[in-house]
């Protein structure tokens, strides 16, 4: 029988070294007895470890992480269970991925318990300030962890509370951080720490952030088990808070509505008067833009981010009208800035149309979509939405007075001409309307969505041709 006594500190490294040698010589788990600390060591004789490393075992990184945590558990079987898993891994390298294996399951539960304890120590340690003669402030705390985690957890506190001296005392071990150096001292009984004025403020905060109208004691106890309470000053108030809760809620319900303070009405009136509102008469594009931002003519405004009004020079000779803003346009509040906008930009550049010389807008001003997974999928606006939004489009045409308007896609063609006829037979030919000539063409999105690459290339060329034609027509003197 091999008896291995592990030290209280540096337990993992000692276990790893012993386990490596034992496994290297194929010593089976049942031939090893593990003890912790001095207790028991040397009481019985132990076979000497075989000399040399033997054939050192290979283990996945995940096992070392698991072992480093589990070894801190107070369960005296923990080192033996880990050694059992180490030997098991030599036969089944993927053992740890098998959550249904009884040994793996047991180790995972031990691991979970230690991890939780580490986390709770980070959460529930409460420092009190000590008098300090030097430049660094001094703090100390008393904590009773469930497992032997102080050494492993000290790093967290050094990284967080680097600029102050502190000590965390526990029954097993004290961690001390002085002038930026970490040291450990043996455990000791609970020290007497001086009162700290901040604790009263903390208690005030704890009592007031509590909402008496919603009591969920089970949830509180699940996350903050009673065993930790005695070292957390704020928990002393819990009984009184609970006792008063029901009364506070009833008092709230019983209290009659009070009269508003005198100044309230004046403040409200002043603020509301200064809020943006739709201008009563729209005489300019800027007024139209402001009014459009507040539009609630159809339901689309509920779901879209914002109205995307047209942009460009107020006297543009050429107006381009798309279907509706897409995902990017909706977020940025500008037309044609997404993927379809890039297709349009490229086509305009090829046709010699300068983007900053045309008025760019859409038939519908709000983005219509359905959320799917992590994305928003474009949906075609219906006739009702197009006709409601015509009001804004007509206003833009009236204020900009372009010589020619290009309808990009079927929705724009419908909105501009009133005809929903097939675009295939209409594109590239000017149609006369009461508000001026309209040239239908493809929508850049239709080109993007076209699965047939040859067909997409033809449509792209069509669009460039149409834009070039539009440019020449718009340049011609009015009345032509």
């Amino acid at each position: 029988m091999h008896r291995i006594a592990l030290p209280e500190r540096g337990t993992f490294e000692a276990w790893r070294d012993a386990a490596r040698t034992l496994a290297g010589h194929d010593i089976p788990p049942e031939a090893v007895e593990w003890t912790l600390g001095d207790a028991g060591a040397g009481l019985f004789g132990s076979d000497p470890l075989p000399p040399g490393p033997g054939h050192p075992p290979a283990v996945p990184r995940a096992f070392l992480d698991l072992a480093e945590t589990v070894i801190l558990h107070r369960d005296p079987e923990a080192p033996a269970l880990l050694y059992q898993a180490l030997t098991g891994l030599q036969r089944r390298p993927r053992l740890l991925a098998d959550a249904a294996d009884p040994l793996v399951r047991r180790l995972r539960l031990l691991e979970k318990s230690v991890r939780r304890d580490i986390h709770k120590m980070r959460a529930f340690v409460r420092f009190r300030e000590l008098p300090s003669a030097g430049a660094r402030r001094r703090f100390a705390a008393w904590f009773e962890p469930e497992h032997r985690i102080v050494e492993a957890n000290a790093g967290f506190f050094t990284r967080r509370f680097a600029d102050m001296d502190w000590a965390i005392h526990t029954p097993d071990l004290s961690a001390l951080w002085t002038d930026g150096a970490l040291s450990f001292a043996p455990g000791a009984p609970r020290p007497d720490l001086p009162d700290d004025a901040a604790e009263e403020l903390w208690a005030t905060y704890f009592a007031n952030i509590f909402n008496p109208a919603r009591i969920k004691l089970g949830s509180m106890r699940l996350h903050m088990p009673r065993k930790y309470w005695k070292n957390m000053p704020e928990t002393a108030q819990i009984p009184a808070m609970l006792a008063a809760a029901e009364g506070r809620v009833q008092a709230m319900a019983a209290a009659a509505a009070t009269e508003s303070p005198a100044r309230a009405a004046a403040i409200t009136a002043r603020y509301r008067a200064a809020m943006p509102r739709a201008p009563e008469r729209i005489g300019s594009l800027e007024e139209a833009r402001a009014a459009c931002a507040l539009c609630t003519r159809c339901g689309l405004c509920e779901t879209a981010t914002q109205a995307v009004f047209g942009e460009g020079p107020a006297q543009a000779a050429l107006m381009l009208v798309g279907e509706q803003p897409g995902d990017h346009e909706d977020l940025q509040g500008r037309p044609f800035v997404g993927p379809a906008g890039q297709v349009l930009d490229a086509a305009m550049a090829e046709a010699g149309v300068a983007r900053d010389r045309v008025w760019l807008t859409n038939a519908v001003k709000h983005f219509k979509f359905v959320p799917r997974g992590k994305r928003r999928l474009h949906q075609r606006p219906d006739q009702h939405e197009v006709s409601h939004c015509r009001w804004w489009l007509d206003l833009e045409r009236e204020l900009v007075r372009p010589r020619l308007t290009v309808a990009l896609g079927a929705t724009a063609a419908l909105a501009l001409t009133g005809s929903g006829a097939d675009l295939t037979r209409r594109r590239g030919q000017v149609e006369q309307t009461l508000a001026g000539p309209v040239l239908p063409s493809w929508h850049p999105s239709a080109i993007l969505r076209q699965p047939d690459r040859d067909r997409a290339a033809i449509m792209r060329r069509d669009l460039v041709e149409d834009l070039a034609l539009a440019l020449s027509l718009a340049a011609a003197p009015a009345g032509g």
């Binding site: 993927r94 991925a97 098998d98 959550a99 249904a100 294996d101 986390h119 980070r122 959460a123 529930f124 409460r126 705390a141 967290f156 990284r159 967080r160 680097a162 600029d163 102050m164 901040a198 009263e200 403020l201 903390w202 905060y205 007031n208 952030i209 509590f210 909402n211 109208a213 919603r214 009591i215 969920k216 949830s219 996350h223 957390m232 809760a245 709230m252 209290a255 509505a257 508003s260 303070p261 100044r263 309230a264 409200t268 603020y271 943006p276 609630t296 405004c301 509920e302 879209a304 981010t305 914002q306 109205a307 909706d330 977020l331 509040g333 959320p371 799917r372 997974g373 992590k374 928003r376």
Partner: protein, 409 residues
């Protein structure tokens, strides 16, 4: 410390308690090894829990509860007679640091009533965050509740100091916002969220020189919606959430059961907060974010678009779609396993890893940690088939708590 600091803290934390969020997770990793104080290491830490079951992770306070807005659901509205107070910048900074040094908190969650103007208020809040970061080298967590009507430049600066920004959507429907919070504008709220998303995306792109810009709100943005103050159905609430998640990349939508407030407005119901409904909404929200459910699938279980309060939404969906069950645990794809009542994402991951090594039986699933009592009508494994159980008429009754017995008159 001044004697009135405690009074201010009482008022301004009491006023902040209706904000549900207290998260401190998911930001960049930082520590004080090279100066300053504080650290963030990925997972959030809850430093205490109050009897309402909520976690205290951050010092959650209002800078002031003076407010010029008149939101009916809010205790701090201008027309309320609640006691008012205002912290100075230095007081907030000092409280945060002193609490932090004693390990009471992970950082600061600062919100505020609106004083004088949205810009003025937001400017003061940004100053507090800047002082903590620049003058005190504070590396802990900062969450700023932003004011949507403030100047965009202030929002941009807030994102440089804060880990998380939040903008409350307040209510699930635009008409409710206009009715109950007349000074707030739904389109402005959404535009501000879009701006935060844009700034976050821009901060992740390297410039052409390969230089990384300053991180912008690395823990993302969140929002809060009040449940039960207007007539919105759960279906409406969930579809609003789905739009917020997809549109603005929100990390979280918090649902807050409308809670009676002192000196409340006559416009609102003075009833106990619908806590179970809030809980079911959180479960449904989880289904949308981690289980591949769409909003309309979840709420379609009932005709009125309300979630079943007696059973959880995943079970409710499964009971309404029994033709898809039972699923073979050893063969079903991940998406289908995630739909089994009782199977969480971790259980499913463990099943997928373990079944590569062996065929899983009932006892294996128990060891994996799967709640088989709940899942049994919906799964098959070698040696177990639910048979007629999946389609039995009284299946729902097995899960729903028995109706409360009427007391004898």
């Amino acid at each position: 410390m001044k004697p009135d600091l405690a009074r201010k803290l009482a008022i301004l934390s009491d006023a902040a308690k209706y904000d549900a969020s207290c998260a401190s997770s998911g930001t960049t990793k930082r520590n004080a090894a090279r100066g300053g104080i504080g650290s963030t290491e990925g997972s959030g830490i809850c430093h205490a829990y109050t009897p309402d079951g909520r976690c205290i992770s951050l010092l959650k306070i209002l800078m002031t509860n003076f407010c010029i807005f008149d939101c009916a659901y809010c205790v701090n509205r201008v027309s309320s007679n609640v006691e008012r107070a205002r912290f100075s910048v230095e007081e907030v900074v000092s409280l945060t640091l002193e609490f932090y040094r004693r390990n009471y908190i992970e950082g600061l969650f600062l919100s505020s009533g609106i004083i004088r103007s949205p810009d003025q208020t937001m400017g003061d809040m940004v100053r507090i965050a800047r002082t903590l970061r620049q003058d005190h080298g504070f590396k802990g967590y900062i969450h700023l509740k932003t004011i949507p009507d403030a100047a965009p430049e202030l929002l941009d600066e807030a994102g440089l100091y804060a880990d998380r920004l939040s903008i409350n959507i307040e209510l699930p429907r635009d008409d409710s916002i206009r009715r109950l919070a007349p000074e707030k504008r739904p389109e402005t709220i959404r535009t501000a969220m879009a701006r935060v998303r844009g700034a976050r995306e821009a901060s992740r792109d390297r410039s052409h020189t390969g230089k990384r810009p300053a991180r912008f709100a690395p823990a993302g943005q969140s929002t809060q919606m009040i449940v039960g103050a207007d007539g919105a159905s759960d279906a409406a609430i969930l579809s609003t959430s789905a739009r917020l998640y997809t549109g603005y990349g929100l990390k979280r939508v918090y649902y807050s059961a409308f809670s009676p407030i002192p000196d409340s407005s006559a416009m609102l119901p003075l009833v106990k907060p619908p806590l179970i409904r809030e809980h079911r909404l959180y479960q449904a929200d989880w289904l949308m974010r981690f289980y591949g459910f769409e909003a309309d699938e979840i709420a379609s279980a009932t005709p009125e678009g309300m979630l079943d309060l007696a059973i959880d939404p995943k079970l409710a969906w499964a009971l309404g779609h029994r033709a898809q069950f039972p699923v073979d645990v050893n063969r079903a794809p991940r998406e289908l396993l995630l739909r089994v009542p009782g199977f969480g994402t971790r259980t499913v991951d463990r099943i997928l890893a373990a079944r590569r090594q062996r065929c899983l039986g009932w006892d294996d699933l128990v060891r994996i940690g799967a709640p088989m009592a709940k899942a049994q009508p919906f799964v098959t494994v070698p040696g177990w088939s639910p048979g007629a159980l999946t389609d039995s008429a009284d299946l729902r009754a097995r899960y729903a708590p028995p109706p409360e017995q009427l007391s004898l008159f």
